[in-house]
Symmetry: C2
DNA sequence: CTGCCAGGTGACAACGTTGTCAGGCCACAG
DNA sequence: CTGTGGCCTGACAACGTTGTCACCTGGCAG
């Protein structure tokens, strides 16, 4: 900047004025400075600028997701990126892999980096630690899972409704023995999906067979094993509800291995690419990632802009996408 | 920091020393400062610190990929993230969507932000503009597509070999009429895959039917149309090679729609989740994203660390994953 | 007792930028 | 001619931190 000022024969402050497009610089000076900037390939130092400016922003938001490479997280990040771009803001993303310690570390790191805001798909049960972090004034928005121990904005889908929709879809088609696989019951999302599943039965005066409802299924392989086991029962299920995207893959594999993929109905939770190319195409309860990302960004940038209204907890309705696997009728 | 110094009854510099774990501070002073830091919830300002320190790093690398939400890019980012973590560095990712202008803008933005390094999956044909950007000393590594107009490190797969492997796999199984779909011929990757495909034929004294080789297929839907059209020929292909992941989806759909998915062989390029759950499971030429990401990070951090050796152009061999669709024999 | 050294500490300048304010110039009204 | 006001411009301090160097203290050798 000093060099630019020297070359243009003006003071530092004038260069600053030109670079920041402030009013009140005569056209010829402006031109001289612009030329010097070009010639010397000068780039303002954002860090120094932020340091001096009062209430300056880093132009960065942090996003902690379960895994950058899984399709749900990746889609969310993409949606955030698009929204952030219009605020001239970049997205600094990191994967938690359900690591509770990692979550705390990364939040601390991001706050120290002075990100303008935080998007959090938490791995932890409770986030009391956040209270101290957020005292610095960094706003945070939760996504996919609601906050506990700290009251901030959140955007989640209606998991209760999602579970209910899946069960109703199958019950309406005559299924009475529906297996259901869920993730760890400590997770609110899994719990609500399970409740919705049960509620759909109760509404119709039915009761799910407890042996067919399995909690704590954590991986694709486990899901596959569980489905195999359930199909071995004397009175096997005629339909399966996989309460999470990776569990659906396991279920598909197991049904395929048994050769019953055209006989046992299957509904998954969370859509994924190619679900429509499976045989039969997979019926799923879909979360609209793009919309969720948009809402998250909306809340976050409102907070960054100074919104101090009470925290909002937005709930997005899932939709059921019928593709074939969920419309298989029960075996006679 | 001033407050911490006041509370601990020491000078600013001493606080700095304690925070940076420098030697030569008496234990009791260290303790007093640490306590004050805790009590006031003090966080060092990284930007200010970097400003003062000579040759300080921002602890950020920029990664420009085709689309953060596509499985190849997302996998790559994840691999980069893991490597960057061990260098206490964050990954700032953005999507190009094949936008050439966007590429230039974003690169400029990232360099101005003083990222420590740049990972680029370019959308542009040539990157002459980079020469000026890199004069600031920011190292860059290209991935998936080689640099043109600027000489920097790159990591790509052997696309020629990949195309050849796919063709050989099908030729070895007796196929003689193999359709092939490629992306824009202006892209080096597409061009090389095509050349490999042709070379495999030539090696065996064969020649691909030019009517079966289609360039410029840009989307899933287009791929589907093209396959339909080729199957309408009097002498239709007995196998299809889809030269890019999204083209494979289109091909699968078309074959499925014609009900010939168990009669016409199919080999895709680029693996994707669930490819093994399709019917028949999809045979693909796979790029090892994790390895590619690791190599990219290795080169980049070597450069950041001061490596000034001549640019390296690493080529990773693809592997062929046989799953079923590629092993269908030609119709009698 | 003096001189020296090592260890601990602080004052000050500097990093690259911008907010504040003062000053110079010119046009125009009185 | 003088005074007033508006338009440009620059000097200076400040943002939060760290590198440099000087200072102080106490211990120990001569």
């Amino acid at each position: 900047m000093r060099d630019v000022a020297a070359l243009a024969g003006v003071s530092l402050k004038t260069v600053s004025r030109v670079v920041n497009e402030e009013a009140g610089v005569s056209p010829d000076v402006r031109e001289r400075v612009t030329a010097a900037v070009q010639r010397l390939d000068y780039r303002p130092n954002l860090a120094a600028s932020n340091l001096r400016r009062t209430g300056a922003r880093s132009g960065l938001i942090g996003a902690l997701v379960q895994d950058v490479s899984n399709s749900f997280s990746a889609g969310l990040l993409r949606s955030l990126e698009d929204a952030a771009r219009s605020h001239r803001t970049g997205v600094l993303a990191a994967s938690l892999d359900e690591g509770v310690d990692r979550e705390q570390e990364l939040v601390h790191d991001l706050v120290t980096r002075r990100v303008d805001g935080l998007v959090l798909m938490p791995a932890s049960d409770r986030q009391d630690y956040l209270v101290a972090e957020l005292r610095t004034g960094t706003p945070a928005v939760f996504v996919d899972r609601p906050p506990r121990g700290v009251d901030v904005d959140s955007v989640v889908i209606d998991n209760l409704l999602g579970g209910r929709m899946a069960a109703e879809h199958l019950l309406d088609r005559g299924h009475r023995r529906i297996a259901a696989l869920f993730h760890l019951p400590t997770l609110t999302t899994a719990q609500l999906r399970r409740e919705g599943f049960t509620a759909a039965h109760t509404d119709r005066g039915l009761r799910p067979d407890p042996r067919l409802v399995v909690d704590g299924v954590a991986s694709t392989d486990e899901a596959s094993e569980v489905v195999h086991r359930l199909l071995d029962l004397d009175d096997p299920p005629t339909a399966v509800f996989a309460g999470r995207n990776i569990l659906a893959s396991g279920a598909v594999r197991a049904l395929r291995e048994r050769g019953v993929h055209h006989e046992v109905a299957l509904v998954g939770f969370d859509d994924f690419p190619l679900a429509d190319l499976l045989d039969p195409p997979l019926t799923v309860v879909r979360q609209d990632v793009t919309k969720i990302g948009r809402l998250v960004a909306e809340r976050l940038f409102a907070r960054i802009g100074g919104d101090t209204s009470p925290p909002q907890h937005l709930v997005v309705d899932p939709t059921l996408v019928s593709r074939g696997s969920g419309e298989i009728p029960p075996r006679a």
